[in-house]
């Protein structure tokens, strides 16, 4: 819309051996203290381990150095000064970072074709921890406190007609923990919708395993009531030639913080991460994503679009894309667009791209935050379109790009209506 900055990074072949450990000719790439544990620690034996960030006294400037652990005790109490919490108003987390999460978790109701297996399992189920490891205190708190998990399995080679619908209905304002595992087995094809509604204070871990050759779409809808507080870590692990599409839609809730990540474990896989958010007065909607190119020849494409209106509407988008040394042939692009509709709203947008090898197909990032443009308005009004209609036309068009990616007509329709309702609120 305005001031679009696009940076395409194409770096030449790296030198054979760095002169100083941890440094390349591009400068500091990784904390040397961290190098030994720089591989993504996931599943299997990694479950019992944890990695610390940059170590004592070393800031975790690289996303690779972020502390990950299944144990709450490994994460220090939050101060709000941490890089990954600096935009979040901790006071409004309503204890998700400090309390024992014993409240009733949102009720889970799954509607799925018979070919899909739905189970409720205990903490000791072998699939727990197969795709995710907490990366922050709130996520670890949920991991420590959840009592049962929902496991949804799309069996090998099954192509699911229609979508698997997971309705998560909040049970009130007691701080709670939720756990969902989605397994798309080899060569399966499916769409899973996580539909968050009602009132909840919940920290949620969603594990997503996309096995070799599987194609999975996960759509996470946050249409909470106005008083809901929701932190959701949604981590996907991708096998060879897997295709994963992830769409986050955050409209409702007082504070919603979604942290999706995608980790490549074998070549040939592709991820698309899309997001749409619309913040009204006083709402805090945060999205922090991480794409971990840990192996060669994978592709990622990220696009998040947000609209803001009203006093103290606040959105945060942080996009971390890491191309590790091993990830030659990577092709990645990430972009965030925000449209600020009124005074008094704030959009933070931070695209981070770390590149540890020059032998890549492409890497780019872009961010643009624009006001609703007077020139657009004049053009449309000069064609007889009233201001109110013109404004809707532009916002609807802006967000429609994401809605169109969903490809589930009923949900597309529902979201289009939801956006209309948000826009109608502009008048007040």
């Amino acid at each position: 819309m305005t001031d679009i900055t696009t940076e395409k990074a194409r770096i030449g072949a790296p030198s054979a051996q760095p002169f100083i450990n941890g440094f390349t000719e591009e400068g500091e790439s990784l904390s040397p203290l961290n190098a030994a544990e720089s591989k993504a620690p996931l599943a299997g034996e990694a479950v019992k381990r944890h990695s610390h960030g940059g170590g004592v006294g070393v800031p975790d400037s690289s996303r690779a150095g972020r502390l990950t652990s299944y144990k709450l005790a490994d994460f220090k109490p939050l101060t709000g000064m941490e890089e990954d919490w600096r935009f979040t108003p901790l006071k409004r987390l309503r204890g998700l970072h400090t309390e024992v999460l014993t409240g009733a978790a949102p009720a889970v109701s799954v509607t799925a074709p018979d070919s899909v297996k739905v189970e409720t399992v205990g903490r000791d189920d072998r699939r727990i921890g197969s795709a995710a490891i907490p990366e922050d205190r709130v996520s670890a708190n949920a991991w420590e406190n959840f009592t049962e998990a929902t496991v949804i399995t799309v069996p090998s080679e099954v192509q699911v007609d229609g979508e698997v619908s997971v309705l998560l209905t909040g049970q009130g304002t007691d701080a709670s923990a939720q756990h969902v595992v989605i397994v798309a087995e080899k060569f399966s094809k499916s769409v899973v919708v996580l539909d968050h509604q009602g009132t909840a204070v919940v920290s949620e871990n969603i594990e997503i395993l996309v096995e070799d050759g599987a194609q999975l779409t996960v759509i996470s809808l946050q249409e909470w009531n106005d008083d809901a507080v929701h932190a959701s870590s949604q981590q996907a692990k991708l096998g060879r030639d897997a295709k994963f599409k992830h769409i986050v839609v955050s409209l409702g809730g007082d504070l919603v913080r979604v942290t999706p990540s995608a980790r490549f474990t074998a070549p040939g896989a592709e991820v698309e991460l899309f997001g749409l958010y619309f913040a009204d007065a006083g709402q805090h909607l945060e999205q922090r994503l991480f794409v971990d190119h840990a192996v060669a020849n994978c592709k990622s494409n990220v696009l998040y679009k947000g609209a803001l209106q009203g006093r103290n509407a606040h959105t945060v988008w942080v996009g971390d894309v890491l191309i590790r040394k091993e990830a030659e042939g990577t092709d990645t692009y990430e972009a965030n667009r925000n449209l600020v509709l009124t005074d008094g709203a704030r959009a933070d947008s931070v695209p981070n791209l770390e590149i540890e090898t020059g032998l890549i197909a492409g890497a780019g990032h872009a961010s643009a935050t624009g006001r609703f443009d007077d020139q657009h308005l004049f053009y449309l009004m000069a064609r007889g379109i009233p201001e109110e209609v013109a404004r809707r036309l532009v916002v609807r068009g802006f967000l429609n790009e994401i809605i169109q990616k969903i490809n589930v007509p009923a949900i597309e329709e529902r979201l289009t209506e939801a956006v209309e309702r948000e826009l109608a609120a502009t008048n007040h």
């Binding site: 053009y379 000069a382 201001e387 036309l393 429609n400 790009e401």
Partner: protein, 265 residues
């Protein structure tokens, strides 16, 4: 039969150097069926006149009037003016991301007519008008002006002119940046719209070239925010031969230079 009447119009803009008067008393009357050409050097205020009629917020009317069949145009909002029957084909049409041409054209037509066009005939009308202007059918799926070339944008402006059927069309340097083929296509479109007999045309141009395809009934020469000479089509021929230089001697070369400088600013 409609009349668009501009009387002693004074218009200023706010610049970093303070308020600057661009139009210094312009009077002009256009009736249905007439084509008026406004010609003049860069910075003479031609485009300011066009934008002021359309109601662009940048331009402040300090005195004078604009009326459409006696109604006070200056009291109307931008969209009200369009609905009253004024159409501005813009010099630099704006790209509107996210809004498809189809959606835009239908929304505008609905606003102007006060009711939604009948779907079947509307689609046919749009298709036919596009074909005549040699606009590819797939443009309807694209976002308004997004990624269009300069010539495509101008053709899409004329497409709107033909579809919206205004009482008065103001063409703000629609010819600039067009090659001869595109110029012909665009001119034919204007002539078709004008030929229906319900429209008056105000053609603003720097060059005489377009006047070979669109025949004006009246020619007004603008210099430094004022009409310095008026006449019939023969005045355009004279301008083609002599250029604007002779007005420079009358008004003073410095004025022209200052006006040009202002236009650059």
């Amino acid at each position: 039969m409609s009349t668009l009447e501009i009387k002693d119009l004074h218009v200023s803009i706010d610049t970093e150097q303070g308020t600057k008067e661009i139009l210094k008393g312009v009077s002009l009357t256009i009736r249905t069926g007439e084509t008026h050409a406004i010609m003049g050097p860069n910075g003479s205020g031609k485009s300011t006149l066009a934008s002021t009629i359309a109601g662009h917020p940048r331009y402040k009317v300090t005195s004078g009037t604009i009326t459409l069949d006696g109604e006070d145009v200056l009291a109307m909002s931008v969209d009200e003016r369009a609905r009253a029957g004024l159409f501005l084909a813009m010099q630099y049409p704006v790209e509107v991301p996210g809004v498809s041409m189809t959606n835009f054209l239908r929304t505008a037509k609905t606003a102007i007519d006060g009711e939604a066009p009948k779907l079947r005939t509307w689609t046919k009308d749009v298709k036919a008008a596009m074909a005549q202007l040699r606009i590819d059918a797939d443009f309807t799926q694209r976002n308004v002006n997004e990624g269009f070339s300069g010539g495509e944008k101008k053709r899409v402006e004329i497409l709107q002119l033909e579809l919206f059927k205004p009482k008065f069309a103001i063409l703000d340097e629609t010819d600039s940046g067009l090659d001869v083929d595109a110029l012909k296509v665009v001119s034919e479109g204007v002539n078709r719209a004008h030929g229906e007999g319900n429209m008056g045309t105000l053609l603003i141009t720097h060059y005489t070239r377009i006047l070979r395809y669109i025949k004006p009934d009246f020619v007004h020469v603008f210099v430094d925010g004022q009409v310095v000479e008026e006449g019939g089509p023969e005045l355009a021929d004279r301008l083609e031969d002599e250029g604007y230089d002779r007005y420079a001697t009358g008004a003073g070369a410095a004025t022209i230079a200052a006006a040009s400088a202002a236009a650059q600013a």
